[in-house]
Amino acid sequence: MPGSLAFYHPTTLEDAIGLLGEHGDEAKVVAGATALTILMRQRLVAPSALVSLGSIPGLDRIEEVDGSLRIGAMVRHRDVELSQIVRARIPVLAETFGKVANVRVRNAATVGGVLAESDYASDPPAVFVALDAEVEVRGPNGERTIPARDFFVAFYETALEPDEIVTGIVVPVPAAGSGTSYHKFVTRSSEDRPCVGVAALVRLAPDGSAADLRVAVGAAAETPQRFPDYEALGRGHVLSDDIVGRVADAYAGAIDTLDDMRGSAWYRTEMVRVWVRRAIESARDAAASGPAAH
């Protein structure tokens, strides 16, 4: 690791943003550093400055605000997994964070980190996209929010400017009558990153048809994949095997799947077909089993 590397631990966001402005692309933010340390060791990144967020107060809270949960950037994966309020209000989020890697990683890795890293094979991004979450970002010109679906731009690339910092994410609590699911399909070990991960939300109308259907597929392409046109195939319909199959086929046909050691492109396409179907079925069944199954 280069000997010129500098380490900063600012105590305010303003100072942190100023340091990023000063160092530009040469600076990296340290949150949990679970990914950064590995990327540095593999020489995939070689920053000249590290800006730690660890001394900035107020970034590690989970709170309910206006029907949404706001989760601070420095909240650790394990804290989301075990949070009483997350479990009660958006259980799929707690479940998903509990499926990331192993407990040792979850004790260090942060919510802001998994967002800013934009690793295609992380679990939480697909769930955030399915839940219409909004990423809170702070830069020299103040705050802005970016919808999760626009935040992930490409492999390890986000909509963040070089001097912007993720401060948190706001996740709307699903409306009454909704069911949610996240299916993580792994091909190697139980703690591996997913080959394909599918998040779904179904809200049932009183007549049993789907008033809302949302599906986001993670790990299959560079960014989480969501197709409102294909979600519309299910909306307004009873989610029969036939309708669910059509949505799953449409997603399998639309995603330009990638090839890696967890599965070939062809295999991923077939797994998208299978797991989109299962994720919708799980969300549908959760919605049907009552309000407790939010």
Partner: protein, 158 residues
């Protein structure tokens, strides 16, 4: 650039001067001479480097030493009291839970965190609690038995 920090390891203060990119594992083993924590995969997969930070298990291979400043670090060296082994260490010996020994420090730290959170775990809970600590020798049976036995021992001691 080098920075002077004080690391609190096993209730002892260690002032050290460090390059920024150094991992906690490399500093524990290098400057501090605490070679109980092992470098296995160096990629957050195997658990051999596991330590407790403020009581929570983390991989020291993917944790910056500078991040650990001001936190309480516990390594496997911090488990025994003088020459008296921790009940988990004693149970690992008695149940043949150690073969080559490379995974053992991580297993012991993992089990310590597990029993702190759940003093009377079922076998399934032990297996889940140790998942991600990879052992390539013993096949885990002895390790699980040792943790069960230590849990009982600790409960009796209370």
């Amino acid at each position: 650039m080098r920075y002077l920090v004080t690391l609190q390891v096993n209730r002892t203060s260690y002032p050290v001067e460090l390059e920024v990119g150094r991992t906690l594992l490399s500093v524990l083993r290098g400057e501090l001479g605490l070679t109980g924590s092992k470098e296995g995969c160096d990629d957050s997969e195997c658990g051999a480097c596991m330590v407790l930070i403020d009581g929570r298990p983390v991989n020291s291979c993917s944790y910056l030493a500078l991040q650990a400043a001001g936190r309480q670090i516990t390594t496997v060296e911090g488990l025994a009291s003088g020459t008296k082994l921790h009940p988990l260490q004693q149970a690992f010996l008695e149940h043949g839970a150690v073969q080559c020994g490379f995974c053992t420090p991580g297993m012991l730290i993992s089990a310590t965190a597990l029993l702190a959170a759940n003093p009377d775990p079922t076998e399934d809970e032990i297996r889940a609690g140790l998942s991600g600590n990879l052992c390539r020798c013993t096949g885990y049976v002895g390790i699980v038995a040792a943790v069960r036995s230590a849990a009982a021992e600790l409960a009796n001691a209370d």
